[in-house]
Symmetry: D3
Subunit: 300 residues, 6 copies
Amino acid sequence: MIHRIDRLALELPTPKNPSANDAAAVQELLGGKFGEMSTLMNYTFQSFNFRGRKRLRPFYELVASIAAEEYGHIEAVSYAINLLLTGTTKRGHDPEPGPLQNAVDARNSYHFIASGQAALPVDSMGLPWTGQNVVSTGNLKMDLLHNFFLECGARANKMRVYEMVTDRTAREMVGYLLVRGGVHIVAYARALEVLTGVAVTKLVPVPDLSNKAFPEARKHEQKGLHLKLYTFSPEDYLQAGLIWNGPHPEDGQELQVVQGSPEGAPYPDLEEEPQLNAPGAEDFDPEMFKDIAKKLGIKL
Amino acid sequence: MIHRIDRLALELPTPKNPSANDAAAVQELLGGKFGEMSTLMNYTFQSFNFRGRKRLRPFYELVASIAAEEYGHIEAVSYAINLLLTGTTKRGHDPEPGPLQNAVDARNSYHFIASGQAALPVDSMGLPWTGQNVVSTGNLKMDLLHNFFLECGARANKMRVYEMVTDRTAREMVGYLLVRGGVHIVAYARALEVLTGVAVTKLVPVPDLSNKAFPEARKHEQKGLHLKLYTFSPEDYLQAGLIWNGPHPEDGQELQVVQGSPEGAPYPDLEEEPQLNAPGAEDFDPEMFKDIAKKLGIKL
Amino acid sequence: MIHRIDRLALELPTPKNPSANDAAAVQELLGGKFGEMSTLMNYTFQSFNFRGRKRLRPFYELVASIAAEEYGHIEAVSYAINLLLTGTTKRGHDPEPGPLQNAVDARNSYHFIASGQAALPVDSMGLPWTGQNVVSTGNLKMDLLHNFFLECGARANKMRVYEMVTDRTAREMVGYLLVRGGVHIVAYARALEVLTGVAVTKLVPVPDLSNKAFPEARKHEQKGLHLKLYTFSPEDYLQAGLIWNGPHPEDGQELQVVQGSPEGAPYPDLEEEPQLNAPGAEDFDPEMFKDIAKKLGIKL
Amino acid sequence: MIHRIDRLALELPTPKNPSANDAAAVQELLGGKFGEMSTLMNYTFQSFNFRGRKRLRPFYELVASIAAEEYGHIEAVSYAINLLLTGTTKRGHDPEPGPLQNAVDARNSYHFIASGQAALPVDSMGLPWTGQNVVSTGNLKMDLLHNFFLECGARANKMRVYEMVTDRTAREMVGYLLVRGGVHIVAYARALEVLTGVAVTKLVPVPDLSNKAFPEARKHEQKGLHLKLYTFSPEDYLQAGLIWNGPHPEDGQELQVVQGSPEGAPYPDLEEEPQLNAPGAEDFDPEMFKDIAKKLGIKL
Amino acid sequence: MIHRIDRLALELPTPKNPSANDAAAVQELLGGKFGEMSTLMNYTFQSFNFRGRKRLRPFYELVASIAAEEYGHIEAVSYAINLLLTGTTKRGHDPEPGPLQNAVDARNSYHFIASGQAALPVDSMGLPWTGQNVVSTGNLKMDLLHNFFLECGARANKMRVYEMVTDRTAREMVGYLLVRGGVHIVAYARALEVLTGVAVTKLVPVPDLSNKAFPEARKHEQKGLHLKLYTFSPEDYLQAGLIWNGPHPEDGQELQVVQGSPEGAPYPDLEEEPQLNAPGAEDFDPEMFKDIAKKLGIKL
Amino acid sequence: MIHRIDRLALELPTPKNPSANDAAAVQELLGGKFGEMSTLMNYTFQSFNFRGRKRLRPFYELVASIAAEEYGHIEAVSYAINLLLTGTTKRGHDPEPGPLQNAVDARNSYHFIASGQAALPVDSMGLPWTGQNVVSTGNLKMDLLHNFFLECGARANKMRVYEMVTDRTAREMVGYLLVRGGVHIVAYARALEVLTGVAVTKLVPVPDLSNKAFPEARKHEQKGLHLKLYTFSPEDYLQAGLIWNGPHPEDGQELQVVQGSPEGAPYPDLEEEPQLNAPGAEDFDPEMFKDIAKKLGIKL
């Protein structure tokens, strides 16, 4: 089970230049083969399916806690997309002037027809995410190797999307994820090291370019965010620390496990898009909640 | 963000008759169009994408909290599948006698080739779950209507899988989900009622057969589990109670919101399947963790 | 079985500004999850699969007749797309100057490579329509609920495509379909009302914006087109009138069943596109048909 | 537009041995790459998209009328599937005894979970039909060549399904479709002959085995059913006769065009399957229709 | 088995105007339904699956040798795409300036995120090639008919892509493939003629426009390239000549079988794209190979 | 370009017990995510797309030569499937007795409907192979890491299929591929070692079980087949030897590059299946080739 915390992993600024095509490109990091839907679902199923966890519990806890963090990542990418799309069409209630005219040339028409200018589990070409992206072989060495590979592939995609999209909203998100994804790369490499004795962490970074080339990642690493593995659980998964320890392969600083999650930030506000009837419900009077709230003692 | 709790939503017994084909049928409830992957991802994306939530916050919180519960449901279905598959092939390390011979006739070969006798995000025919199953239009009335429909469809599927699979592991899981899914059906119907004034809750049950026809559901309803909407959050989403209140449409008992989640139960043990190298790692000596655990003060 | 009538449901003007990207957007209404292929095939299969129709015949006849109308809707959307595409590339027989150069930047390249500047069963991103879009559970209440939901989703898509595309060809088609789809929404809501006693028709319109906001729909409603359910059959399906009766939920006018179909209009002319070899066959001499026509008594 | 006739193309007997796996195999003829969904949709879109039909009208009318017949073929295959599935599980309202137990081993679980023991637009492996199966190039020679090929492929599939399934329901349906599909093969071959002068009809039969080897086809051919091209329209498409004329390539009898459609037969009865809640609605009292029927003058 | 020759089928010039959208269009010829992946895989599987090849060996050898040529065609299309993409983004190591900014508007984002500005087995809309494109019925007449149809469809696609893309790199490639694909069209038509006696070759060209309308094809035909069927094998497949003989259907020149393959040309150079880390490995010192090369006697 | 050699990589015995379900399982090794279609197409596209090959030529040649070998592997798996399917249905020309009756219960109906009891590019559940399985990032380190992972995943699949299928035909094929795939695993590990200095070869075997546990693999390793990397080219790719050298990680024997390919063996005979019309063409008289063979000097 999970408990949901109504906060975003990082503080996301509003875009300087909202852009439908930027949003379309960022979708790769959400619903692409190497997107966050894939990392989330791979580790989630691997944790559900983990056999022999009595004998190999620290590996189980490592995978389980990283899986939990990935939920916050599909969330972060989604909010970046939503912000990039907010206000990209002309606001208003009247359909006659064609308020969505620009969307005809946008690269992802689903953003304007299927969703209310918001994220969907599809990639940068609009292709839906598929369960075929999940690898859960049950063999620990194989799954760890896969995860290491998957995170490196995800990193390559983030780097390239960073190079495509210059708006600060997207780049803040990508910079943060480069650091946190970097933690996962090292974590799976460490797990392989612990399991086999082979110095897999020395392979990083893959691709070769360092996170330090990305200012929005660099600032987080300067604060040591690349050293911390959060359990993303109030009480469980501390045994991940039996794997996540020792020096970081790139700068030699000490790795540390932290119970719980980062503090996060309030969600950015997602304005209404009346031309899309998103959310609509304009006749609805929210005042009606006041009495019932008082009666039930619920804070508005 | 989420916090993960290392417990299962309900206590799952081990099967009396492990069965690969039963497990294959249950996959529909995980990765089918109306399976828990769909409910999880629909509400999750709708919550990320919810525009105008200042004005319509109780609706947002309702969707967000139900989304959180669904994570526990993909987990519950996965464990039921894993238990049904445990021990269905002949255990051993030697491939020569063909320990997986029976699997040649099993309906879902992925369980034996792709996974280590464990769940995958595919349906009862092995077709992968797809992001096309997510509807997130951004229009509140539309999304609520969709969710009501989706939950009814999910209920129909659960009823039919119950009729296909008689083993107690599957039926305990389905019985529990019929009750909890029933809560979601009423919740979305209530939300439509609050929004429009139309008595949508009177449509339940869809399909017509009552949960009371299922002993494994009945026992939970007798304890009032069908009346509780959990926030699945330590502090957030209590405003869901502004919608989830009043009498239950079937028995007239009072609906109530509960902060947090059900207590749950420890995970059932998933035994190793050595013939599948799941998890393998037999040369690995878990004793090596003892020293590091002592040094780092981590409890084994 | 069907009889085909060589006429289009409505009169479609030629576009003022043929546009490949407008045509690409309109494809969502043909081959999208909520497009006319989906409504056609959902109701068609539900009618084939309807069990117990002796007991519940009026419901069967309602679904069967609406299914028949949807064929005319895939036709109407297809012709709108074909008109929007006609003349969008430079006409001529010589490939050397690159008559399809503009198509390189068009959003749907299939229109120029796979088809002869014409419609295909794909959505606005070019993704093919899939049988997964068909819901036919066999449970009447469930299927009716689905159909009500599906039509509302289709309506949301039409409204948004209307806002994207301002050309009169597309808007005439969308306006007409908003009205006829509106009939189907009310029909399925009425069927649920008759079946359950719940006032489902009060939920309309979903999304909240009225058809009256669309001039091309308004003009048809002023003539009462939103009140008529056609049987789309010379003799069958009149029992649909046992459900389709009473006042329209939005304006209170009386609903009525009409045997047969609307009169329709001749198809717009689809000019040849010689640069695409569509239709080619330029050496063929149609004169050769004259003799055989005379001999067989067939009118040319 | 179409008019729907509430009759089936042929009279279908009830199965001697209802069989879920037989039904699963027959699905290939409905939703497979070479199934009737493909023939229906290929010719339908080609007829919508036909450019230059003034100049080449007989070809247009040929394609349009065959498209219309194909609707009756998806219907015929669907009813055969529905009959093969009727009664394959234990009837009753109580889920507890597991009335669908046998379905766990059935090859197509969708028949029991997604539908109410009824047809879906999927193939013999449960893979959904896809719009990628539609070829509509706009080039007449190319489209005719495709259609000739498609019909031959469809014929090969019918022959093989005939060899798999021995029950009379399926074989009556396949026998009929072999004859009618045979008409379409010759029709497209004739069209190519008329267009190019090449004796394409001499290629039939493809595959080599004659329809005469199938008793259920032979009996129809003895009555001349292989000689008739129906317009499937009350008034249109007679110009198809400018192509469909001359001797049949296999037996030399004269080809003839018939205005309208075959007489057909009443639909076989599809009994209720209460264990699937198909159609459910057991509390509903159909008597309520009597008064309204009298009032509206509708015959029950 | 195969032997690979490190040469390209034709000499490809570098583009005058590299263009991401041109490259996107050309993808249809690689990964589209009628692309070279389809021709390669259809004939390859048909050759593996050919039953009764003792009796029908010349047909087997014809299919096998054409299959071998198609490998060179997926290669040729891939190189054309790679050349069209080379240099389309700003080169450099620093991600900060957003060197891939233009790619945000490109029609195929996979070229910049998934690959290093290079070809992928997807079509012009980015949809992946699928095994569903393979037809291998095992019936010789049926398979030959399919192949004739497939090659004609492939020809139509090539003609249309030629009309979309004017750059010389693409057109050289398309011109060459029109000629070689033309050989395959005639080869399968000839095979049908030999098998059935029907003059299928008279149907060419399909579509109607001659290769002579394409200067880049014409120049090869003037040298007789359309007359030669290569065995693409050092010793095998000469029996293809028992089918490939007689006059060419368009110009009457004598067809001839050639043992082996065309001479081909060196691959064009694919420059590094450092902003994509393609290939990266900049710290790697290739000098390290010198010693080992000397020691092992391998020529650098 | 390639030259095709009309021989199979290994000698394949005929099955002792032909079995449709065994054949269905083996399909995973052909068209599954980790099947030979995937290895073939991944390395093939990586070799086409390899940028900077002047600087990094040995890596290019390694990938290119392994790609070439994979063609022989899709061939070997296909022939094993074809042999397992040969004779699994009752032979004869008459469809009436239902010669394919058993196929109704077979796990892969495509083998009997779509193909003539022969292989298709689909996996063990019949899902078609897709281009999404191709990873070609252009970054050398990333692609090598992927390939190492892919080969390990392929190995896991082979091991499990071996445990499912006990017939000698399948096991001979799997044993051979375990050895040759093992070469590829070590080759990519070596390439990563050469590139990065990290001892990646020490990770093998993944999964943990050694090839020595499989008698049909062991016998090849005893002859040193696991030590040889063939160039699969008459003249090219010898520089692969700059990477493929040094001791084998498991037994320390010296690795060696061999110009060319293994000798291979004649294809096993694939008997006709007349009930499937595979190949049909029974009226065709192969004698007609004799004269033309004599005239053209072609040896029969």
